[in-house]
Symmetry: C2
Subunit: 131 residues, 2 copies
């Protein structure tokens, strides 16, 4: 999307992502609410990036998408009655929090611009390999 001047339709994006136009709209809608993309209807409509690629980080995308749970394991219950569960939570809560902080900090250090640059490099390599 970053390399296109014109908007891309949900249909086109869905093909790129091997998914469904409605799923694209749902997801892009969240990014629009965060001011990262914009949508336009009708002829020549679709989705375009409006934010500064240097300023948008993966962390912002994570937030925009509703901060989905990072961990697949861990606390089932924040304030359990069960004392065993309380003990386990007490030891692990900090560990999970620290790991989450580490990860989110890394996310914050990746801009869309950096990804675009890396992508361009990979595309160039692939072109060379084809010749």
């Amino acid at each position: 999307m970053a390399e296109r001047g014109e908007p891309m339709t949900s249909e086109t994006l869905a093909q790129c992502l091997c998914t469904n136009p409605v799923v694209v709209r749902r997801t892009m809608g969240l990014l629009r609410e965060a001011g990262i993309v914009a949508s336009s209807r009708g002829h020549a409509g679709g989705w375009a990036i409006v934010a500064d690629l240097e300023k948008v980080t993966l962390r912002q995308l994570h937030e925009a998408l509703g901060e989905p749970a990072i961990f697949a394991i861990g606390n089932r219950n924040e304030t359990p009655e069960c004392l065993v569960e309380q003990s386990v939570n007490a030891v692990l809560d900090k560990a999970f929090a620290d790991a989450e902080t580490l990860l989110l900090d890394r996310f914050a250090n990746v801009t869309l611009a950096a990804l675009v640059a890396d992508f361009a490099r990979r595309a160039a390599v692939r072109r060379l390999q084809k010749d």
Copy 2:
């Protein structure tokens, strides 16, 4: 379990854990394969801890249970064709690996003995509160 001299049945454990005896057997079976618990059949049978509580860590439990995925987000595909996916993976793989290492190191520092001690402390507090 640590505070009991005799084995506990899957039935009893299932009630404690709000789950099903068969689920308990499946899970405890993995812990048995790792040498952490033992099972006995028939009258007065059930499950008991056989490992040294000072030596068993949460990391060992994690391994014994088949190292379930820690992260709910991240790589769908380790070697994607898609260049965008490759770029994203390249930046995030290390971040996820570092977060995983951090977490597993923390797990390794928690022994069952420490949990038992913490549990005992909490149980004492609860008893005092009841009086």
